[in-house]
């Protein structure tokens, strides 16, 4: 890992509220607060993992950062440039530097185009000159991601799921991006293929000096691949820390519950493991619970949790948590929550 302290990407108080409309006149009756004020930095060369349950806003975050969605509020700074409200025209050159990999290797490739056309498209669209022609460049990338360069003229359906994900990755790499946002890059794949693609992503990072934001719901995969991890719940980041701290001394009750719920491939764990079981489901982001959004499922919840939103505070070096009663917290920093102010 070659990390410097200059953030490549910096996100501040980012929000995305999707309007909910009703009737023919499309009167707005509410908003899905998909992303509701999140801040984080991504340093060059690192991998930030983004985890959380379905619907917590992970994909929306990825799409906001790459400006596939228009933010409702907040700020996105990439390499020192504010792109929060940049026009699509002004964004175009930046699109080369920031690419997205999607979950579904089946639907994200055009079935009527050959692999050569798919992987070569970014060159044509961006009008990039290549030294020995586009074909040579594409074949080099195919080899890089472990595909046979001679398969240049084949169609997506002639490849397996794992190979199609490699094609997707090859397409992403064509323009030598600096930042890659991978949204569930392996969750549609079989375990053995998943591991192949995870290894590939790691090799490419080392070889090409890439920076990743990896979105996934699988906490084991995220730990394996990430340097730092952010945990989201209902549109908020509730905890962010380097992976070692997050997995060995998680402070937010939700993080503790998530980790405790992961099935462990060891029969002994059945009896020896301490379990935290949440009840119920994630509440709707249309009407998230007030103050601490986790209070409806939290076993540590007190009255203050229902009235005062806990701010995301640094409780240990590089370890930020939004909770009035964190677990594993260094004693000195557990404050009485009465002084806390609700933001917004």
């Amino acid at each position: 890992m070659t990390t410097s302290n200059e953030p490549l990407l910096s996100v501040q108080d980012l929000q995305k509220h999707f309007p909910v409309t009703k009737g023919l006149l499309k009167r707005q009756v509410g908003a899905v607060k998909a992303v509701d004020g999140i801040s984080f930095d991504v340093v060059k060369g690192e991998t930030l993992g983004l985890v959380g349950e379905s619907g917590c806003g992970k994909s929306t975050t990825g799409r906001l950062v790459t400006r596939l969605l228009e933010p409702t509020a907040g700020k996105i700074v990439f390499e020192g440039r504010d792109l929060t409200h940049m026009s699509q025209g002004a964004l175009r050159p930046l699109r080369r530097d920031m690419q997205m990999i999607f979950q579904d290797p089946y639907s994200s490739l055009n079935p009527r185009h050959t692999v050569g056309t798919i992987v070569g498209a970014p060159y044509r669209i961006q009008g990039v000159k290549t030294e020995n022609g586009i074909k040579k460049a594409v074949q080099d990338i195919l080899a890089l991601v472990g595909l046979n360069p001679e398969h240049y003229n084949r169609y997506p359906h002639e490849f397996s799921g794992g190979q199609r994900q490699r094609i997707g990755i090859a397409r992403t790499l064509a323009l030598k991006p600096k930042l890659i946002i991978a949204d569930e890059p392996v969750s549609a794949l079989d375990v053995s293929i998943q591991a192949q693609v995870v290894n590939l992503l790691e090799d490419l990072q080392n070889e090409l000096d890439l920076t990743y934001v990896v979105i996934a719901h699988d906490l084991s995969v995220v730990r394996h691949i990430s340097d730092r991890v952010a945990v989201m719940y209902l549109g908020k980041i509730v905890e962010i820390a380097d992976r070692k701290r997050l997995y060995s001394s998680p402070m937010h009750p939700y993080t503790n519950a998530l980790l405790s719920a992961v099935p462990i491939p060891d029969p002994k764990a059945r009896t020896e493991r301490e379990r935290i079981r949440l009840t119920g489901d994630v509440p709707s982001p249309l009407n998230p619970p007030p103050a601490c959004r986790f209070h409806t499922r939290c076993w540590k919840a007190q009255d203050v949790c229902k009235t005062v939103e806990p701010p995301l505070e640094e409780l240990a070096s590089g370890h930020r948590v939004a909770c009035h009663f964190p677990e594993n917290a260094p004693d000195a920093v557990v404050q009485t929550p009465t002084g806390a102010v609700a933001p917004e």
């Binding site: 349950e53 192949q196 084991s220 099935p263 462990i264 489901d281």
Partner: protein
């Protein structure tokens, strides 16, 4: 395997005739299961897990499937039994939980109506008695306010609640054999943990025989007494949970274990996946179907390509399908594979 086991499957073959050729989805599968016990079937997608479970329930009858072999349930041969008889057993004596509850619940009937109907097929009781039973079942599987929820439609339930409702439906007639095919694959990890707990508790309460089918080794480790590892329609290793996790002997089982990042261990540098991808079941590789992906194929001096290995006892109750000798496999596991899986 015991002759008077509650469920006894012998040399089960399920082949489909298609335009492209014969698909050998299940090709000589044998296992048995007693009441009160849980069998985990693991394998990657397309290995024949779902076809096996549908086969046991007699759901391939009348299609393009050719089913041979023996399936004994409580002393009755299900293969030779009439369609009508098998239909009578379904729901009452054996039932199934599917991966996607939406596709197996009727969208236009309330959840309660569907449980009531399932119950009344096998029990001559009034509607109101059946409704009481439905409410009782919904409560038992942890649906809040079952008196009210019994009148909800499937789409009004969250994913976790639908899965619970489906379990309630499957259990409404106290089946003695319950097959759960990827019951938690579509669920979030916290909800998955709730459902796995629920299945474990209910199985204890009803003393039913449970087959849990999944690609997730963590999930099988949580629930199974015995585990069957499937590859290309065949069982390649069978044993107790301890056999499979602590002393696995088949190279494919090793590959599955090496593919998974594990939360219960220090993070490893690299995953150790199986190379290549699962074979087509129309053109199954000759000899040992795993040979194109097996790192040890050469050690068997050509037999891997010419001779189908037989499933043999390596220890009482622990069966392995591989040409390597017991000593060779154990030496490889102890000296190479196990250390590699554990190294930092």
């Amino acid at each position: 395997m015991s002759e008077n086991a509650f469920l006894d499957v012998q040399d089960l073959k399920i082949h489909f005739k298609t335009d492209d050729g014969v698909v050998k989805s299940v090709d000589g599968l044998s296992f048995s299961l007693d009441r009160g016990k849980t069998l985990g079937i693991v394998g990657e997608s397309g290995s024949g897990k779902s076809v096996t479970s549908l086969g046991i329930l007699g759901l391939h009858r009348g299609g393009n499937a050719n089913v041979t072999g023996q399936i004994w349930l409580d002393g009755e041969d299900l293969i030779t039994a009439s369609n009508e008889h098998v239909r009578g057993l379904r729901g009452r004596k054996m039932s199934m939980i599917f991966q996607d509850p939406l596709s197996s619940m009727h969208p236009f009937y309330t959840v309660g109506a569907q449980i009531i109907e399932a119950y009344r097929i096998h029990h001559k009781v009034s509607k109101s008695v059946a409704k009481k039973h439905a409410i009782d079942m919904l409560g038992r599987v942890g649906i809040p306010e079952p008196q009210r929820r019994v009148d909800s439609y499937p789409h009004e339930f969250s994913g976790g609640m639908r899965q619970r409702a489906m379990i309630a439906m499957a259990l409404s007639c106290d089946p003695e054999l319950l097959i759960a095919d990827e019951p938690t694959t579509a669920l979030d990890v916290t909800v998955q943990a709730q459902i796995l707990d629920l299945m474990r508790d209910l199985q204890r309460e009803f003393n039913s025989a449970l087959i849990i089918i999944t690609h997730d080794l963590g999930v099988v480790a949580e629930l199974s007494d015995d585990i069957l590892v499937m590859y290309a329609g065949k069982c390649i290793e069978y044993g107790t949970a301890d056999d499979i996790f602590y002393r696995p002997e088949h190279p494919y089982t090793w590959g599955l274990l090496g593919s998974m990042p594990r939360l219960d261990r220090e993070p490893t540098e690299r995953l150790l996946p199986v190379k290549g991808s699962p074979p087509s079941l129309i053109n199954v590789p000759s000899g040992c179907a795993f040979h194109p992906r097996c790192p040890y194929a050469e050690l068997t001096k050509g037999r891997d390509r010419t001779e189908v290995p037989v499933l043999l006892d390596t220890d009482p109750g622990h069966l392995v399908r591989c040409h390597l000798s017991r000593t060779e496999r154990r030496t490889l596991w102890e000296n190479e594979v196990k250390p590699a899986l554990e190294t930092q």
